[in-house]
């Protein structure tokens, strides 16, 4: 075998005493640069491989010799470890110093990046291997187990394992996910003792299938990836132990250097050495050029060189098939990941699992679809035949198949979502306001009106951040490293709760609560569940709820006291808390064949230990639940995958009102991701289709949307008004109910009065506009119905004026009738209340006043013939009307005096209307009636009485009306 010579150039000064030092060499990804370092030199040199004559770039940041170098796989980041105990990161290729990413108490000996470059492993004479997140520099884990100093580290290319070797020759396989030792091989590698110039390396084959470790018999031993069994060894002409080895990029060849100053090139498959080179000094480090057929080497004296055309041209190049092998590799990786995900217990689906599951499942489901459609074609061919022979059963199947035909679109739509695609599948549990896990991206565990909890996973560890929308108010919560892998979280003003599903047998499902501000130290607590898994969590004032896989509802107090354990009816879907109330949605039964989820909701009051509500959850057909929560007023509401928001109303014995439909929204290219709601609007994040959920970055922005009933398109053409009308009446009923509740509870409900009043006025305005549009489109009956719904008598008067102006005398007369009836009725009611009321005096006085002013009795029967607007008076008394009394009298008097003049113009109008009507009807009545127009002022509770100089034979009378509110 020929022996060639290779000229080496000095890169680093040898140690002053001439003793060998450990030097390292590295290529960058593009093979543009060669990085060298020496343990006797504090400088790192970046050589330009294209211009070797150019002086190298020198990085002098370490205070002592550099013992380890590592470059991230994408060559953007260089890490160096030194005898000065620090690990530094640099930008590459610029060499700009970035950060001291970690420090040890003793010299560093080895560094390694994982394949994605997100994690750096560092080790040395210290006890323990540190796994460092390169993004934020946090220490994700410390792996302890080696007795001697760790001198070699290698991440498995598939990202599952880390292999390490120490100076005693012990090799350890670490499982990265859990940080546990998988295999420990004692004394398999040469014991290097305290010789710092010798590095024992170990290296994974590029496909990750085996690990090469220098052996005891001057050989290299290959160990199996998973079992750590010895596979074979490369044994040949090395006379002393192997001190460095390097796989060619395609894994076909290996270069080994030994203390006998030889470098051998091996064909790994044939287990044969194919070339060798002898050097003056032992080679401490080698690196295959990523592109091309060359090997960079550096010896113990700091001299480096590039060995060109290492592999004879008659053989395959060391980079040949690299793309193939890489793609195969990455395929393998993906495949493996999928497998891993599918291995995760399906029903243990927290949302993250769900998202992954559907990712993983979608391709097979498509396959299935194809099969389905084939069968369907077959059916279609034999259609006639079959329809005769096998009637109903097959038909049913066939319709099912046709449904599947629409599948592909659905698949696309739902691929990221929870829904079942094929057979109806019960939806998995989820947390409201969370987004599915996406590899390498931050995701929301919880997003609500208070703030957000986000998490990102790095190599098995998660980083959780809690942010408040209102940065001024919320406390600053430090980000935390999450060793549990939390997938569920909930947040309110006082604290946050986290939970993780159990992964395998070793990690139990854990529930953790972190209060934000408390007077006691260390008041966060956690609970572990054996043989049970948390499925959903919720948070309220002073309590934490967790619903588990055993269908237990567990209630804890804020301090961590186990308060209640209840059994629920079925598997939980989601839960949401608001103050004292806890809402839980669970499956009531398996899905219907029509793909409808059968869900049930229950609302508990935790502090009173009562159940407030229970019932079926009305989802849109074929949809599933995507959000559940309470409005700011405490109304339960939910959102489904068809984009319909429903809010609970106590009307009709407790029903759900659809208040928004995404399909009917103005912009159809947006999806709405609901965050919260209040009485009049709801807050959501709009996502451009086909995104169903927002990303953490850029920070999502809430949009305020108005409620809109899914109204039928009416012939009126005033959809917005109709919608407003419905909304107002709903809100009014809510407020009235609330007031009733408060009065029942003995609280002062007067604070809600103003709300009610303002809604009433808004409603009247809306109704008046509706009346106008009804009149314009000639829907007179509808207009009359609307008039009956007006809250204030004055509004009715306004309506009369309106229709008069619109020249609809007929209608005006009807309105008059309505007004009169209404006033009579109210009078009757008032009289009733007056007699019942203990505090009659106040009202009696008023009555007396009224009767004085209008001595003529009321004759209701005459009202149909009434031809002119009657005299009316409406006074709204607020609770204390006493001070109004005098005032009222005064105003009355004034009004009486004024009425003739003040309302002149109005009178004319009404008169006209009245005249027309009267002429049409009968001429026995005088068309002209004096009346007083009163100004109704609710807020002042002003009472205005209209008393008039009465004409004779008038059936109508001015009368006093007090409405007590």
């Amino acid at each position: 075998m020929k022996v060639r010579t290779l000229k080496l150039r000095e890169a680093h000064k040898p140690a002053s005493n001439g003793s060998p030092s450990f030097c390292s060499v590295l290529w960058d990804q593009q093979a543009h640069h060669l990085v060298t370092a020496s343990s006797s030199d504090s400088a790192i040199s970046i050589h330009d491989s294209l211009l070797p004559s150019q002086a190298p770039k020198i990085l002098r940041h370490h205070r002592d010799g550099v013992t380890a170098l590592a470059i991230s796989p994408n060559s953007t980041c260089l890490a160096s470890g030194s005898v000065d105990h620090s690990v530094k990161l640099y930008k590459f290729p610029s060499g700009e110093f970035e950060t001291n990413i970690t420090r040890f108490t003793l010299p560093i000996r080895a560094l390694a990046f994982n394949k994605s470059g997100t994690m750096l492993a560092a080790a040395g004479d210290d006890e323990g291997i540190k796994l460092i997140n390169t993004i934020d520099g946090s220490i994700a884990r410390v792996l302890k187990g080696h007795k001697g100093s760790v001198i070699g580290l290698a991440f498995d290319p598939n990202g599952e394992y880390l292999a390490s070797v120490d100076s005693m020759g012990t090799v350890i396989y670490w499982e990265l996910q859990l940080g546990t030792t998988l295999h420990m091989l004692r004394g398999v590698a040469p014991n290097t003792g305290t010789d710092c110039s010798v590095m024992n390396v170990l290296s994974w084959s590029p496909d990750g299938e085996m690990l090469a470790v220098p052996g005891l018999r001057n050989d290299v031993v290959m160990y199996d990836r998973d079992t750590a069994e010895k596979l074979f060894s490369l044994r040949g002409d090395h006379l002393q132990p192997v001190c460095f080895l390097s796989w060619s990029p395609n894994g076909k060849y290996m270069a080994t250097s030994s203390l006998d100053r030889q470098v051998l090139i091996w064909d790994v498959e044939k287990k044969q050495d194919i070339d060798r080179q002898k050097f003056d000094e032992s080679i401490c480090s080698m690196a295959w050029k990523p592109i091309g057929n060359a090997l960079g080497v550096i010896d113990a004296m700091g001299k480096y060189g590039i060995w060109e055309s290492v592999i004879p041209s008659s053989m395959k190049s060391p980079t040949e098939g690299i793309s193939n092998s890489q793609s195969k590799n990455s395929n393998g990786l993906v495949f493996f990941e999928e497998e891993e995900k599918e291995e995760e217990p399906g029903p243990s689906g927290s949302l993250s699992d769900v998202g992954e599951d559907s990712f993983g499942e979608s391709p097979p489901s498509r396959k299935r679809l194809r099969k389905q459609s084939v069968t369907e074609e077959f059916w279609e061919d034999d259609d006639a035949f079959e329809e005769i022979s096998l009637p109903s059963k097959l038909k049913a199947q066939k319709t099912a198949a046709t449904k599947h035909k629409e599948g592909p679109d659905k698949v696309k739509e739902c691929v990221r979502n929870v829904t079942s695609l094929e057979r109806p599948k019960m939806q998995d549990a989820f947390q409201p306001g969370s987004t599915p896990a996406q590899p390498g991206k931050r995701r929301f565990l919880c997003y609500n009106m208070v703030g957000s909890i986000t998490t990102i996973e790095h190599e098995g560890y998660s980083h959780i951040e809690v942010d408040f929308h209102d940065t001024g108010r919320g406390p600053r919560v430090p980000s935390m490293t999450d060793h549990f892998g939390f997938t569920m979280a909930s947040l309110n003003e006082n604290g946050s709760v986290f939970a993780n599903p159990c992964k395998g047998e070793k990690s139990l499902s854990t529930l953790m609560y972190r209060p934000f501000c408390t007077w006691a130290n260390n008041s966060e607590w956690s609970m572990r569940f054996e043989g049970e898994e948390v499925k959903a969590v919720a948070l309220g004032t002073g309590w934490v709820a967790a619903i588990t896989s055993l269908h237990f509802l567990r209630i804890f107090t804020e301090g961590g006291l186990q308060r209640h354990v209840l059994s629920l009816d079925g598997p939980v879907v989601t839960a949401s808390g608001f103050r004292d109330q806890l809402a839980i949605v669970s499956h009531a039964s398996d899905c219907l064949p029509s793909n409808d989820q059968v869900l049930e909701y229950r609302v508990f009051n935790i502090s009173n230990s009562t159940q407030l509500l229970k019932g079926r959850l009305p989802l849109s057909p074929g949809s599933h639940l995507t959000w559940l929560g309470f409005s700011e007023e405490g109304l339960l509401s939910f959102y489904d995958s068809k984009g319909v928001l429903r809010v609970f109303t106590s009307q009709f014995g407790g029903s759900w009102v659809p208040l928004f439909s995404s399909n009917k929204a103005k912009k159809s290219d947006e999806n709405h991701w609901v965050v919260g709601l209040n009485a009049g609007n709801f807050f959501c994040i709009t996502c451009k289709k086909p995104d169903l959920f927002p990303q953490v970055m850029p920070k999502p922005i809430l949009s305020i949307l108005d409620f809109s009933f899914p109204l039928a398109s009416s012939d009126l053409g005033a959809d917005t008004l109709e919608n407003e009308f419905m909304l107002n009446s709903m809100r009014l009923s809510q407020i009235l109910e609330q007031m009733e509740e408060m009065t029942r509870a003995g609280l002062d409900a007067s604070s809600l009065d103003d709300d009610a009043y303002s809604i009433e006025t808004a409603q009247d305005k809306c109704i008046l506009r509706l009346i106008a549009s009804c009149c314009n489109s000639d829907k007179l009956v509808r207009a009359t119905e609307l008039v009956k719904l007006l809250s204030f008598a004055n509004s009715v008067r306004g309506a009369i004026k309106l229709v008069t102006a619109l020249k609809l005398p007929n209608l005006a007369e009807r309105f008059n009738t309505i007004l009169e009836e209404r006033l009579l009725k109210e009078k009757g009611e008032k009289d009733a209340t007056v007699t019942v009321n203990a505090k009659t005096d106040k009202y009696t006085a008023r009555d007396v006043l009224g009767s004085k002013a209008s001595p003529a009795p009321i004759i209701p029967s005459a009202s149909p013939h009434l031809s002119a607007p009657p005299l009316v008076k409406k006074a709204k008394l607020q609770d204390a009307a006493a001070p109004d009394k005098d005032n009222g009298v005064k105003v009355d008097a004034e009004d009486v005096n004024k009425s003739g003049e003040v309302n002149n113009d109005k009178l004319v109008e009404a008169k006209k209307a009245g005249k027309d009507a009267a002429e049409a009807k009968s001429k026995t009545h005088r068309p002209f009636n004096p009346f007083s127009k009163t100004k109704d002022d609710h807020e002042k509770g002003k009472s205005v009485a209209g008393a008039e100089n009465q004409p004779l034979q008038r059936p109508s009378n001015p009368f006093l009306k007090s409405k007590i509110k």
Binding site: F468, H469, D470, G472, K699, I701, I704
Partner: protein, 211 residues
């Protein structure tokens, strides 16, 4: 005479123009809760965390400086939009693309105070500079077409800053033309023949129009 015309065609300083531009509305996303602000020019707010609202630029900048909000860069400040505008500017010789009247000032203020809120800020900044250069160049070349007969200039979609830069020159040039054309000896006629368009432009119209 020269001094006189200088005072006549008063030029705003860049700061003054920026001050005026601070009244433009811009969308912010506050991260605090605050009641409605009742300002002379209108009511702004209420401010709710994470809910976008429109406020004057000066308020946005003030809040931003206190870390109370994120500024949402206006739609025209996106890379795509600016690239489109730049291309269109380069394509058409005469016409100006429609950009906000104060685009120079707004973009400048945002670059100064809200770097972190603008995606691809380097790209946006360089596009902005290109657009400005192209437009100024266009203005200059279009002014070259002046001749003795020109008594008015009409350029559509010119921005405040651009108007401000050319105004003194154009106004004076036109005045000079007018004077030479009329050959009226009395200096009294000067003020009356002053192009009114410049006044209009000074009042914030988009069109620099002479009569």
């Amino acid at each position: 005479m020269a001094a006189q015309s200088c005072s006549q065609f008063h030029v705003f300083s860049a700061e003054e123009i920026e001050f005026i531009a601070e009244d433009e509305l811009i969308e912010i996303v506050p991260n605090m809760r605050m009641d409605q602000l009742n300002l002379i020019r209108g009511d702004f707010g209420p401010f709710l965390p994470q809910i976008a609202t429109e406020v004057p630029l000066w308020l946005a900048v003030a809040l931003k400086k206190r870390g109370k909000c994120r500024i949402r860069p206006p739609e025209w400040m996106s890379v795509e939009k600016l690239t489109q505008v730049l291309e269109a500017e380069r394509d058409s010789e005469k016409e100006f693309q429609v950009l906000p009247f104060h685009y120079v000032e707004i973009s400048r203020l945002l670059f100064d105070h809200a770097q972190d809120d603008i995606p691809d800020i380097y790209m946006v900044r360089s596009l902005m500079e290109d657009i400005r250069d192209v437009r100024f160049h266009k203005v200059e070349t279009s002014l070259e077409t002046f001749d003795g007969r020109t008594s008015a200039v009409q350029i559509r979609s010119l921005s405040a800053m651009e108007v401000n830069i050319v105004r003194p020159f154009v106004a004076r040039a036109l005045q000079a033309f007018q004077k030479l054309g009329n050959m009226v000896p009395e200096t009294d006629s000067v003020p009356s023949t002053r192009p009114q368009g410049t006044d209009k432009a000074a009042r914030g119209r988009r069109i620099l129009r002479g009569r």
